[in-house]
Subunit: 283 residues, 2 copies
Amino acid sequence: MSRIAYVAGQYLPHRQAAVHIEDRGFQFADGVYEVISVVGGRLVDAERHLKRLKRSLGELRIPAPLGDAALGIVLHEVIRRNGVDTGIVYLQVTRGAAPREHAFPKAAKPTLVVTSRRSRPPDPRLGDDGIAVITIPDIRWQRCDIKSVALIANVLGKQQAREKGAYEAWQVDQVGQVTEGTSTNAWIVTCDGAVVTRPADFGILRGITRTVLLDVIAEQGLKFEERPFTMDEAYTAREAFITSATQFVTPVVRLDGRPVGNGAPGLIATALRRDFHDHAEIA
Amino acid sequence: MSRIAYVAGQYLPHRQAAVHIEDRGFQFADGVYEVISVVGGRLVDAERHLKRLKRSLGELRIPAPLGDAALGIVLHEVIRRNGVDTGIVYLQVTRGAAPREHAFPKAAKPTLVVTSRRSRPPDPRLGDDGIAVITIPDIRWQRCDIKSVALIANVLGKQQAREKGAYEAWQVDQVGQVTEGTSTNAWIVTCDGAVVTRPADFGILRGITRTVLLDVIAEQGLKFEERPFTMDEAYTAREAFITSATQFVTPVVRLDGRPVGNGAPGLIATALRRDFHDHAEIA
């Protein structure tokens, strides 16, 4: 089955799927995106993702390219045409194509691109073995709450992680507090058993998995503190973990080369990883 | 004459000029660009622009898509095919197309896009009347020395300026000092006649016009201070102006609605605007 992409109203063979060179997504990073997990051919937490998409578009004042119902149809159609049972759907909306000029064009029509591909479910080894994380300065712009495609700093950070044999890089702000990973949210469990993650302010993305996990934590009656934490706290934490829409909850066992806790995946992270699935909404 | 664009090895009708939806320029802002003025069919300060392009590529570790000679040929060919006598040439290099994944792909080939269009020479009214500038917080990433296409903050800033009837927005850092405009460098002339502009650190782009103007200032024996300045200094400055590759030197006569100096273009800005052309290298 050859891959199909949706681009601005058409379903095209993936190889031919293109946008104009003056698309503002290409020239200005003037666009936003979402990545949604697909399980059993169905979208995971679609409603929350589409709500966040609307918010991102609103903050950039990009009109929605399609109504909710039509967008839902396109997402499902792209999944269907690509025969995706387990995988992801990627959608990107830009301000559209227009002669290059920084200010908003008067007459551009937003571009919607949707792709989908199969992937293995979250790698069980990541859960069993845990991952290594490094830290880097957070050099990104100050509106990381908007899920924009201006991801060059995230790209450089992820690459640094890869080159140091780590899975992710945690970004640290100017006062020494962790903001988030380059494509994941960051969490620790303190020595007295409190789960800690940074509030969703302008400095981080309000991760969907992060939001769902807050419900799980509340239901399980775990001690929880929504506040920034420093790397010193992280180094001495009992556990650490990351969350993302594609890998859900993944334990961190090394931070900047030092073992976290006893160097094995933590009990709370492991339990949250196990329980997460029951709480995601699959539509 | 229909417009022609160069895209990854081909000269294409502008309308059909496209990049793949998985080009990393579109999905990650993983690319850099240059805008070069064209005067009499020839490039202005080409050598400096291409040197800066190389530096930007080097900082992002994107291989050069073409050697210097070949790139020069493409630039001139695009200018020629579009019949541009006075205008600009735009070139963009991205890390290329690859399945979406933050870290650098192993096998992507950089994408080179070149366009050119006619435009009027720098608007004389801008020089005669001067422009209005507003100020906004600088929310961009911390590597603005790299001329990346991650321009969404610049887009939002320029749009704010437009909506307030201004030509440009000066961005102010967290300690109250001006970094630069959204697509121009920022300058003031103090009450004692010193021309002041911020050093080209990680916080601003090393503008080509800025660099050339430093030579002009030195040759004319003007008093010069390369240091950050605050908005308080700017409000009480004798003159203010901006520089860019397309508008050269342009006087600022209003800052946040207040007149600069006596509210008319300053003597030094006007003289620098007049003299700038003699110093640009046209190749």
